[in-house]
């Protein structure tokens, strides 16, 4: 059977050379980095070097990079850490309606605990308005947290401009860059971000490891208390193999950023065009240009996303949807709704996210099969029947 993986925004395979870089740290160089004997020092060195590498790629200094268990922990730590560490200064946080749940649910948690949160609207392309942001700022605002690139529709926010506004108002600025890292050149100083979350499994590294960039001087409570690891800010025996894998993955990603992007954008545009040509009543979600290189998100009217995914799976295509039925929740994707899509259209959304292993031939295969599947499902749909009657 065909095996076409087009859900790279959900997670990526770990590239062979990255797995290989990790292996020695399981069976041989397993020493606890806090130990003073040779094996411990070797581990410490591996972590220090990984940290240096990550820092260099992000334009940060090594002392500003902290390893975590993934994007969710980084987001939780950044937001709760700033909120609880600065509550003497204020209790207001600004974020958006299109954040990942790791940010959204964290903010909702803080709302239940005495904080006030403004969730910025977005336009039909998923873009926030800088004016809205400026208006939302008040004297109690201690943190702005805005997603760099959206995981569902791929829209890229004007992070640099937001960074300037944050700086002008002396407010900490966190960005969830989990989808951006590996796809966009990042320089924390140029962007003016104070905190930045990333997660290795989105750029061909292992799952269960991420990092939080914390600008020097940012006041932030620790989140996982215990041992003195990570300069006393994040306890827990270091996940050396995974940290080495993260650094290796980041290095590979940024060594090949240009060709990665060229390739993905070519495939993406071909895929979008193919879908638009072959299927009627389809709408592209997200921004036409300011979008992640690998992101295709379309709403296909009159059919429902989960049925679409099941059908795609049956021809070996892995994709995702913002349909409520895929998540067991009642409402379709909060991101699509925030962009103004009606529920019934949001139910029929499809995300195909391309990665380094996808080929042009796979894109053709997807277009061809998607068209057939959509036709089959529409033939079963009472909504489509009506449209035909109207014609």
């Amino acid at each position: 059977m065909r095996d076409v993986y087009m859900d790279n925004a959900a997670t990526t395979p770990v590239k062979k050379e990255i797995v290989e870089s990790m292996i020695p740290y399981f069976t041989e160089n397993y020493g606890n980095p806090s130990s003073i004997y040779r094996r411990g020092r070797d581990s410490k060195k591996a972590i220090d070097e990984s940290r240096d590498l990550v820092a260099k790629i992000l334009g940060a200094s090594s002392r500003e990079i902290y390893f975590t268990s993934g994007g969710s922990e980084s987001d939780n730590w950044a937001i709760k850490g700033v909120a609880l560490g600065n509550k003497n200064k204020g209790n207001h946080i600004i974020t958006t309606k299109i954040e990942h749940h790791a940010v959204l649910h964290t903010c909702q948690y803080l709302e239940r605990n005495g904080f006030e949160v403004t969730y910025l609207d977005v336009d039909e392309y998923g873009m926030i308005s800088l004016d809205d942001l400026k208006k939302a700022i008040n004297k109690n605002t201690i943190l702005i947290s805005i997603i760099y690139a959206n995981n569902e529709v791929g829209t890229i926010q004007p992070i640099k401009e937001i960074g300037k506004i944050a700086k002008d108002n002396d407010i900490y600025f966190h960005t969830d860059a989990v989808q951006a890292v590996g796809n966009i050149e990042i320089d924390v100083d140029e962007l003016g971000v104070d905190l930045l979350s990333l997660s290795a499994h989105k750029f061909y590294g292992p799952k269960g490891v991420g990092a939080l960039y914390i600008r020097k001087g940012v006041k932030l409570n620790p989140y996982i208390h215990g041992g003195a690891q990570e300069r006393n800010r994040r306890a827990g025996t270091e996940n050396i193999a995974a940290i080495v894998g993260l650094a290796k993955a980041l290095e590979l990603a940024y060594n090949n950023l240009e060709s990665h992007n060229e390739n993905l954008i070519y495939l993406r545009n071909k895929l979008i065009k193919g879908i638009m040509n072959e299927i009627s009543y389809v709408k592209l979600n997200g921004h036409p240009e300011k979008r992640l290189p690998g992101n295709v998100n379309v709403s296909i009217e009159f059919i429902e996303g989960e049925a679409l995914l099941l059908s795609l799976d049956m021809v070996g295509i892995a994709a995702s949807s913002g349909s409520a039925c895929t998540s067991g929740s009642l409402d379709p994707s909060h991101v699509l709704l925030a962009m103004g899509l009606p529920h019934e259209i949001a139910h029929g959304s499809l995300r195909l996210s391309l990665g380094d292993f996808n080929t042009e031939e796979e894109v053709d295969y997807v277009i061809e099969n998607l068209a057939k599947i959509v036709q089959r499902l529409r033939d079963m749909s009472p909504l489509y029947e009506r449209v035909k009657e109207d014609k």
Binding site: F302, I303, E304, G305, E306, A307, L310, M314, S323, A324, C325, G328, L330, P332, P342, H343, E344, H347, D379, M380, S381, P382, L383, Y384, E385
Partner: protein, 139 residues
């Protein structure tokens, strides 16, 4: 996630389509919730001689519709009224808890169609006198 039976009915749904001169038509659910089921019945001498459906919805909604049409085809109205959503789900070898509403939808679609038949034909169906499908059934 889904049983093989569900996948089989989703892949090869039985009785998809419309009946031009249906004796009863029922539609339940709404697009906002992500599922609409429409049932067409052909009834002769109190017996469901033909049934077709159209469904907008997820895999289990389509499979439930398909299974429901199979269960009622050839049955008398009285027999059909005894078929609950559980029977549909069981016939599919079970549905995930979050998907049980799809079988409810199937039951309601049938009842709606029967009620429509009753109203159009004047044949009284005691059990459906007060029947009202709950549009927003799973909200």
């Amino acid at each position: 996630m889904y049983s093989e039976k569900v996948m089989e009915h989703f892949t090869n749904p039985r009785n998809v389509g419309e009946i031009e001169d249906a004796d009863g038509v029922g539609e339940v659910g709404n697009a906002k919730c992500g599922d609409i089921m429409k049932m067409y019945l052909k009834i002769e001498n109190n017996i469901i001689v033909d049934v077709k459906f159209k469904t907008f919805g997820c895999g289990s909604a389509i499979a439930s519709s398909s299974m429901a049409t199979e269960l009622i085809k050839g049955k008398s109205i009285e027999e059909v009224l005894k078929i609950t959503n559980k029977a549909v789900a069981e016939a599919l070898d079970g549905l995930p808890p979050v998907k049980m509403h799809c079988s409810v939808l199937a039951e309601e679609a049938i009842k709606s169609a029967l009620k429509d038949y009753s109203e159009k034909s004047g044949v009284e169906i005691e059990e459906l006198k007060d029947f009202e499908p709950k549009e927003d059934h799973h909200h």
